[in-house]
């Protein structure tokens, strides 16, 4: 995995690259990531992952928190539908992610920034490819930089000195 210059895909990156926060289920996708490791499958160092027991534990607050705190994308990965270790947790994740994407789209967050994918414990390559694909998607979309959005305080036109505000 040679060093990637992300500014080629989107000049807004400058010398940094995408930061993706991952939520991996303990039984399938976290193990798939482990397998990618033991198999030495290279992938970009864009993913910072969190282990949860099941994608059913995925709380949309986590994604919103991560985006608010500087992440450029969120990747939730679980067991394939029908193969959840807790039977159906991944279906709940599927629904939550669908609704979360719709909601955040209204706030101007591109839905592709939040992705849900599956990888069984045996699918180290699926995991690797998913991270690569997601990295490319985010790289093309550019940085999210929510800091810029929330630190906005500028008034529209020059305001009078604070002391001069009249209340006539």
């Amino acid at each position: 995995m040679p060093k990637q210059d992300y500014s080629e895909l989107n000049p807004l990156w400058g010398d940094r690259g995408p930061v993706i926060v991952g939520f991996l289920c303990n039984w399938c996708s976290y193990r798939a990531a482990d397998l990618a490791g033991t198999s030495r499958f290279g992938y970009p160092a864009t993913l910072r992952d969190i282990r949860i027991m099941c994608t059913g534990r995925f709380d949309p607050t986590f994604a919103i928190k991560a985006l608010r705190d500087g992440a450029d994308g969120i990747l939730i990965m679980g067991c394939h539908p029908g193969q959840c270790h807790y039977q159906e947790g991944n279906y709940k994740a599927m629904r939550r992610v669908a609704l979360l994407r719709r909601t955040l789209a209204q706030l101007g967050v591109h839905p592709d920034r939040i992705q849900l994918a599956w990888a069984s414990a045996a699918e180290g390559t699926t995991f690797t490819q998913t991270v690569m694909r997601m990295t490319e998607t985010i790289a093309k979309l550019g940085p999210l930089q929510w800091r810029d959005t929330v630190s906005d305080l500028a008034p529209r036109t020059p305001a009078p000195e604070a002391e001069e505000v009249s209340h006539g």
């Binding site: 629904r95 209204q106 906005d152 008034p155």
Partner: protein
């Protein structure tokens, strides 16, 4: 403390509808106790005060300030800072001050779009010269000024430190009363507290609830709901499941889903996220197509989930991008449709 030994009370109205001012009076005859107990030093809505009267006070001279309304303009911010400086205890009174409420919905847009709509595009606008308000205007008599209009609506505690929060749009009289009583008696909860309950509206709602399985949503005009069964069970969006109790479940009791004005429950970081998670969890669908079909019956999810709390939510507002040195909101319609390949 005034010379007469009464604590000094200030009430102020920033970006809000005025309902909170009226709600203060909804404590009925108790208002006389207030007048009895407090020395009211500033209440522009009710009595004749000038900002200079406040400025003339010592820092920290006001014992309690009930501040309602969000921060939308330079003037709102200025008054927030001024009153903060002069007050020992600052109370964010009502939904606007606490979480942004309706004014906070402007955070779905930016200043440009709001001005464009209000002064040009609105069907009721009559502005043939296309005039827009300016912060400074030269007239023969001299210069007129107006406070600057912000791109983003803020809650009070995003601008100044706040000791207490009283939720509600407007707050129910009993909570105002409880707050006043607490202040009078001096039995105050720890700073940062919300004066209210720590359960949700369901706790006060008399409707019968069962296990949830939503196959589609209805908009209020589409069905006449059964008056005894949980509205959500009937497919009507109700924010009560994730909304702090305290109102007595007023809306559900008149066959209308809870709007969510008391904001999220105690300890919740983002009320909208709680609704997304809970509502999505109980949708009865297992494939992306089925899920989409159900969600298609719930238009404007962000509007539903962040109706009162957008300004206070983690994201705070819709995304701004730099364009020619200005920050502008990305218009909603420019958000691309989901790539079908990525839907799963």
């Amino acid at each position: 403390m005034a010379e007469n030994g009464k604590p000094k009370l200030a009430l102020y109205w920033a970006a809000s509808c005025g309902g909170c001012e009226i709600s203060v009076l909804a404590i009925h005859e108790k208002i006389l106790d207030v007048a009895e107990a407090f020395d009211i030093v500033f209440w522009p809505c009710v009595m004749d005060f000038k900002v200079s009267d406040v400025e003339a006070l010592e820092d920290g001279e006001i014992d309690v300030c009930l501040f309602n309304g969000a921060i939308r303009t330079d003037e709102n911010a200025h008054m927030a800072h001024l009153l903060r400086r002069k007050s020992k205890v600052m109370v964010a009174y009502g939904s606007c001050a606490m979480e942004g409420c309706m004014p906070g919905l402007a955070n779905f847009y930016d200043r440009e779009r709001i001005m464009q709509f209000v002064y040009h595009d609105s069907p009721s606008t009559d502005n043939p010269d296309g005039v827009e308000p300016q912060t400074r205007t030269e007239v023969p008599e001299g210069e007129l000024t107006l406070p600057g209009f912000w791109n983003t609506v803020r809650t009070l505690d995003q601008i100044v430190p706040v000791e207490y929060f009283i939720p509600g749009c407007p707050p129910e009289a009993k909570w105002t009363e409880a707050a006043i009583n607490a202040i009078i008696s001096g039995e105050l909860p720890p700073p940062g507290s919300v004066i209210g309950m720590d359960v949700t509206v369901c706790d006060e709602c008399p409707r019968e609830r069962s296990e949830k399985k939503i196959t589609r949503f209805y908009r209020p005009y589409e069905i006449i709901p059964d008056p005894d069964i949980c509205l959500l069970d009937q497919g009507l969006f109700c924010a009560g499941i994730a909304t702090r109790a305290g109102c007595g479940a007023l809306c559900p009791q008149v066959n209308m889903g809870c709007r969510g004005c008391y904001g999220p429950n105690e300890g919740v970081v983002d009320g909208g996220a709680r609704l997304i998670s809970a509502i999505a969890s109980v949708i009865d669908a297992k494939t992306p197509e089925e899920i989409d079909a159900v969600l298609d019956t719930l238009p404007d999810p962000a509007g539903y989930f962040y109706r009162f709390t957008l300004a206070r939510s983690l994201m705070e507002r819709t995304r701004l991008e730099r364009q020619n040195g200005h920050k502008v909101a990305r218009p909603l319609e420019e958000v691309p449709r989901l790539d079908p390949a990525l839907k799963e």
